[in-house]
């Protein structure tokens, strides 16, 4: 019998989590690792490993082929569709303290696409080798240039077989033209709701009347298109984090059933006024306490609210192919089909890379819409966007579910080769995956209630909780 390499990490003082390269995981007591590493596995250990697909007898037998299938599904991300972020304007009518990209004032000149840039953007989109696309409009406040959104939408609906638009808006302004635009079934709204009124005011609007205006508009948009086409996310200031119950209530009040907790992004200008964004332990502690509150609340009320990122990580653990979220996938190699086009026509591999250029730390532009992609730069960036053979990740049981974030590493450390365990990305994801595994194996009915609903299951099957004897 041959055993596929197993990676391991202690989950706590009693349990070790192990996983093979295909992402098949199990829990064992601490002695298992000693037996496995010392070639002293018992007959029942071996039986367990065979039954769980971690071992095979001969190349080409069913167990071997099954592993190859699972493993190969973890080695690629389906490229059938594109996900492009467009920044038609950097101007914004708010001045949030942690704005990542230093928005420009509404009256500023030179921060919008001009006609030539718009035509070049459309030409760039036209050249993408896909038939499906999601176009996300960011800013600035994209609705300040509704005309540009309409031009892109009209073109994309003709060019692509399947298209979806997401407008990331502060919803401070809502007029008849905007209402008409968002009525289309292929338009989704994404906005920021940092919590109760006073928290949102402190973080974003600095004016209770503006917050009132936003909340009114959010309610109207949800009435107009339904909560399923509106998503909101809170940005958490770890210097003054909101009370979890109050935060969840502020979402439930609008009928929103999912929220995505996001820390203040370290890239860009936010780092100046929010030094706490540099440390991961406070974030990880808050995140865990938030999830505990959410799970208890779901069980208490019977209404299920989802924390998007944890649910997404759970889906990534349980099956390959959960690659829709561009911040967490592997490989995550920059291409034109997964890019950000800035207000000046520069193309970046991610929104975070755009921020680093904006603060003049490093120019990671991978081309521009006039001249096309810079393939030398794409090739240079590619290796850092794969975790599979990273000398740290190769020993980590969570590697098949995880990703990399070299842009964040570059932002914080000025380099991309810091030991993974020292990187914010790794510390955050070790904590999230530890939490996810802990929850999967929990026998607490409240945990099972939330997880099964998040995963669309009636109950959590025992098969999701393999444990070595």
């Amino acid at each position: 019998m041959q055993i596929w390499p197993l990676r391991f990490r202690d989950l706590d003082d009693r349990r070790t989590v192990l996983a093979d390269d295909s992402g098949a995981y199990f829990l064992a007591d601490l002695d298992f690792v000693d037996r496995y590493s010392g070639d002293r596995l018992t007959a029942s250990d071996e039986k367990f490993l065979r039954e769980q697909g971690h071992a095979f007898e001969r190349d080409g037998d069913l167990a071997h082929t099954g592993f190859l299938t699972r493993w190969s599904q973890r080695q690629h991300v389906s490229l059938g569709s594109a996900y492009v972020i467009l920044i038609p304007t950097l101007r914004c009518d708010l001045k949030c303290s942690y704005c990542q990209v230093s928005r420009a004032p509404t009256a500023a000149k030179g921060f919008d696409w001009d006609d030539e840039t718009l035509q070049n953007v459309l030409g760039f989109l036209n050249g993408l080798p896909v038939e499906q696309i999601q176009i996300e409009f960011q800013g600035g406040e994209p609705f300040l240039r509704l005309d540009l959104l309409e031009a892109v939408a009209a073109f994309a609906r003709r060019r692509f077989r399947k298209v979806r638009f997401v407008v990331c808006t502060n919803l401070q302004t809502l007029n008849e033209d905007i209402r008409a635009f968002i009525r289309s079934d292929d338009v989704l709204i994404s906005t920021s709701l940092d919590g109760p009124h006073q928290v949102h005011t402190r973080n974003r609007t600095a004016d209770p009347l503006l917050t009132e205006n936003f909340l009114q508009n959010l309610g109207e948009v949800i009435d107009l298109v339904g909560p399923e086409r509106v998503s909101a996310l809170p940005t958490i200031d770890m210097e003054q984090p909101p009370d979890p119950e109050a935060l969840i209530s502020s979402y439930e009040a609008f009928g929103l059933s999912s929220l995505y907790l996001r820390p203040i992004n370290y890239q860009g200008f936010a780092r100046k006024s929010h030094p706490a964004a540099r440390t991961s332990s406070a974030w990880n502690d808050y995140y865990r306490s938030f999830v505990d509150v959410l799970i208890a609340r779901n069980a208490r009320t019977g209404r299920v609210i989802e924390e998007f990122y944890l649910a997404h990580c759970l889906r990534r653990i349980l099956a390959p192919g959960a690659d829709s979220h561009t911040d967490l996938r592997n490989p995550n190699i920059p291409t034109g089909a997964n890019a950000v086009i800035n207000f000046d026509g520069q193309i970046y591999p991610s929104d975070e890379a755009r921020m680093l250029a904006r603060i003049r730390q490093v120019d990671l532009a991978i081309g521009n819409v006039k001249d096309g992609l810079d393939h030398d730069k794409l090739a240079l960036l590619a290796p850092a966007h794969i975790n599979t053979l990273d000398p740290d990740c190769i020993h980590c049981p969570y590697q098949p579910f995880c990703g990399t974030d070299p842009i964040d590493d570059l932002s914080r450390h000025g380099r991309i080769d810091v030991p993974r365990q020292e990187s914010w990305f790794c510390q955050r994801h070790l904590a999230v995956f530890d939490l996810a595994i802990d929850l999967i194996y929990s026998t607490n009915p409240a945990v099972e209630f939330t997880l099964s609903r998040w995963l669309g299951l009636e109950t959590l099957p025992e098969a999701l909780r393999p444990a070595a004897p």
């Binding site: 390499p5 390269d21 010392g38 190859l68 030991p419």
Partner: protein, 85 residues
């Protein structure tokens, strides 16, 4: 090592050939500590702020990981060769 070790981690002799690689790796992960091979296993020197039990387990795990990594490298190479065909 400049002073007496804060921790001596005994390692079974069957793993001794993997200790140099494990030490190289631990020096990179824990730059504030010093690691050295001894006849019995691994000696650790430096700050005593670390939890000794956890640190001992971490040293053992790094040795285990090097063994698993080296011994299963042909399997991993085989996977990628298969993918490249």
């Amino acid at each position: 090592m400049s002073s007496s070790p804060i921790l001596n981690v005994p390692v079974n002799s069957e793993f001794h050939s993997f200790i140099p690689a494990a030490i190289l790796r631990m020096r990179y992960i824990y730059p504030e500590l010093e690691f050295g091979a001894t006849e019995q296993g691994v000696a650790v020197n430096g700050t005593s702020e670390f939890d000794a039990t956890r640190l001992e387990r971490e040293v053992i795990y790094q040795v285990y990981r090097e063994k698993i990594f080296q011994q299963t490298l042909p399997m991993r190479k085989g996977l990628y060769e298969m993918l490249a065909r």
